[in-house]
Symmetry: D2
Subunit: 306 residues, 4 copies
Amino acid sequence: MFDLRGIVPPLVTPFNESGEVVYSDFESNFEKYLAAGVEGYLVLGSNGESVYLEHDEKLKLIRAARKRVPESMMLLAGTGVESTAATIRLTREAADLGVDGVLVKNPFYFKSRMTSEVYLSHYTAVADASPVPVVIYNVPVFTGISMEGGLMIELARHPNIRGVKESAGNVQLISEVCWATADNDFSILAGSAPTLFPTMMAGAGGGIVALASAAPAAMVQLYKAFENRDYQAASSLQEIVAPAAVAVTATFGVPGLKAAMALEGFRSGLPRRPLLPSGVAAVAELREIFDRMNSRLVQTGVASHA
Amino acid sequence: MFDLRGIVPPLVTPFNESGEVVYSDFESNFEKYLAAGVEGYLVLGSNGESVYLEHDEKLKLIRAARKRVPESMMLLAGTGVESTAATIRLTREAADLGVDGVLVKNPFYFKSRMTSEVYLSHYTAVADASPVPVVIYNVPVFTGISMEGGLMIELARHPNIRGVKESAGNVQLISEVCWATADNDFSILAGSAPTLFPTMMAGAGGGIVALASAAPAAMVQLYKAFENRDYQAASSLQEIVAPAAVAVTATFGVPGLKAAMALEGFRSGLPRRPLLPSGVAAVAELREIFDRMNSRLVQTGVASHA
Amino acid sequence: MFDLRGIVPPLVTPFNESGEVVYSDFESNFEKYLAAGVEGYLVLGSNGESVYLEHDEKLKLIRAARKRVPESMMLLAGTGVESTAATIRLTREAADLGVDGVLVKNPFYFKSRMTSEVYLSHYTAVADASPVPVVIYNVPVFTGISMEGGLMIELARHPNIRGVKESAGNVQLISEVCWATADNDFSILAGSAPTLFPTMMAGAGGGIVALASAAPAAMVQLYKAFENRDYQAASSLQEIVAPAAVAVTATFGVPGLKAAMALEGFRSGLPRRPLLPSGVAAVAELREIFDRMNSRLVQTGVASHA
Amino acid sequence: MFDLRGIVPPLVTPFNESGEVVYSDFESNFEKYLAAGVEGYLVLGSNGESVYLEHDEKLKLIRAARKRVPESMMLLAGTGVESTAATIRLTREAADLGVDGVLVKNPFYFKSRMTSEVYLSHYTAVADASPVPVVIYNVPVFTGISMEGGLMIELARHPNIRGVKESAGNVQLISEVCWATADNDFSILAGSAPTLFPTMMAGAGGGIVALASAAPAAMVQLYKAFENRDYQAASSLQEIVAPAAVAVTATFGVPGLKAAMALEGFRSGLPRRPLLPSGVAAVAELREIFDRMNSRLVQTGVASHA
């Protein structure tokens, strides 16, 4: 039973001053997410700084996450790298370690060569080889490539390709894919919190969004309002969280997300270099944005974190 | 009473083989729109090929439209050109001819100089001088400039700037502007039919969309379903019209819109050069797309055109 | 005898505080250009703010220029507007007023429709109808469209299309077009002073560049060094003028060019709104950049202006 | 003595049908390059498909290259990956294996976070730790980021940062960096064969260009003509090689380069997946382009390969 719905925080990887992964900090954050009511977890996503991780660190993080995530809850791992063969190897290792599905970013370095034919061949090879369901990961802001709706629709026909994380906030794309895959066992998750509500209205069944790592309860509340068809409440919550959602992505990026998490009581550590931690001014601005969001959430009866 | 809501077709300008405006054809289309239940009309928009029109042709088209549009219905005219002074002159002439509001595209030729300061100064000058309400027109696909939400919010404070036509389909921008202008007398209209439903969910009060010129009844039906909070029906209608909506904009442009209108019984004429009319293959594809849309609309009980 | 070579200043249009053209200021600048040794003049180019000019202002500016430019020297006028018919009308009027050639910018508003077929048809119609040679004007920074080399090569076969002003600074494009048109009577002029020397090495026969309006003597010197195959001197002059060249285009735009011209003793007036004049800080920076350029030019024996 | 000049082929990595590196094929190509008169070699560059290589494959390729490249000739290795620490580790291992310098691509995944401050810190850390000279690698077509001239100029002050491979073909950037680093021990190499001649005129001291891997003798000839100040010959050779230079980069990418190398008698193998090999039509077009180039080279007295 692979059901891609609800709010899924993309777990960050805490590093210390020397740039080493602090696994105990990583494990310490799960309790809060559980209390907030998230539906699953993503390890090794973009916000997990997977591009800065060594292979053995990736395996250790999956093990640590699986230890903390109840069997009944979904654990996804990001296993997409540039080479098809290396993606398959990591996918199989992740499956062996007990993940329920893998999130596979499209290869993108040789941009002009990344035709639909190349992507069809790549994803088919990965999905054929993967013991667990495969979720496509479209994230143009990092890859510089926007995957086409037609390609996603074609990939959705593969029985082991079961969804897409669409991080561009493109409601037209989401609508198109949602309609065309209505008969497939295929789900769409939003990847962008600032547009979570409209993208769910357009067909997304939830979201893997950065803000869920710093403010899980608010995101869960928004999702529940949507699920209960209380669009007034959902729209109002979307408005309340929007500034924080933009701050931990477009404005301050992963360092900002980590700083915001620290403000909210998580153990998020430092980013790994070349990323530099948020400066004093950025942290002050984040504090103000989160304080404002939290006091507005309290007014609407949402605890800022469980 | 200036109320920017509902479906507003952007009127096309019919040209003959010699490139002259055929005013009688232009006037002949209004009856159908009226029957379909549109809320207002836009003359001299992008789809009206206003960039190809001479000054006297613009005035004659406004006069012809005003003659055909009942006093009780809203008539907008596109009066934004590059120079502030020329925009003000055309705005005043349009008001003298009886339009209810003007749609003012941002100047864009000197892209790097078009700062927020320049836009504030330009729109304030136009709104101060205009006898009728001003609606901002943001259309990055043609201008190459995406106006910032913050700027729109600031402009919304001017008592004579009463709305924005947002053609980028950017739900994040629409949400942001909608929330921030809730206390102003300021409306947002979608400018992109493929995303009409999600953008209305994000706060738009209707749309000035190309497809409304070729399939007004379907667009009105979609709008009414939304207004009645029948989101299931609205979403389903959005899916049905999406392929036609994309075809008459992104895929085939103004020539495609005119060809589709002809298929649907309107008198749309030829585009003006340098635009070339749609070729045989494009027309065949449009026919197929519209036939499929129309038969699906019939199944849902919507007459394709009144 | 139409010979597109050497340095051609794109004339600015001086406006007063009320936004009116000051023709006497316009006429007062020619003497200096003549003394500097330029080969020709362009009226109604982008730097002339042609997009902000009314039709009758355009005709008056052509008349004023023709009065001041000796018969033996080349006068070009920018006559490209969006519609083919309007471009042809203005082209013919300009020819009647005595210009030696017209610079025709590609129409660009309906970007996705501007196919090679459209451009071939447009330029062929204009060139067929024009009594004087036509020069293509490629300026992606303003139009958002980069014309393809293959298209230029095809257009170069028309006997009345005699050159291109290439403002993108794309040396690969310039080389390609230069080689392919070696047997045609077709010239390439650079449109970007910061890359004038390398583009001349790649095949351009001179330049219509903003800096030539503020520092004509330096640009003429650079061109002469290149023509005399003194590449050491040309390269050195290019280095000296580069900061000023960037300042009056990318950094400060037309308002910056006008401010720099005023510092150099020209009567350039104000920009027309919506353009705002350069602020105090920008003018101070321009002064510093031009002072530094002038003192370095003096060291190399070039008078900063004749 | 680290002297970054002349023509340096970026070595491709031959893979077999199973996707394994064929080291014997890799080693078999050096003889021809030596005969053609290249000045050095690059292993693990973009054309070497380094993004698809495992860590141990990288080390084996460096060892194989060092075995074949005479001590007197320069061997560079691409060691830039996303993380600073991993870049330093690979750089040190490469130095231990005897490379003369390392080419370090800028990290680029978190685009909006890649500020000048981040790059200064990253490159300084790498250059401080590297036992061999560091060469910056700017390749916007793959990274989506164009490094600023000002940043390069600042990095050039570090005694162990000794040059840049500039693959954008941006002559303005090259001129600017060249002038500003005239007093440093810092060189610029072109990364784009279609613009090699103009970029050398703008200050580049040679090139690491894809075409040098398939047609080394022609590229060496072009470089020598430039060095001997025979600009007529250099320009003419540039024209002759341009179509092939474009074909093995922009048009057909790495698969096209490998196909062209096979046509020219090299053992280039297949690309690694997800890259797909060039199809029959592409190979036929490459054959035609290279045949035409070779016959024109023969006319000018250049053997197509030694």
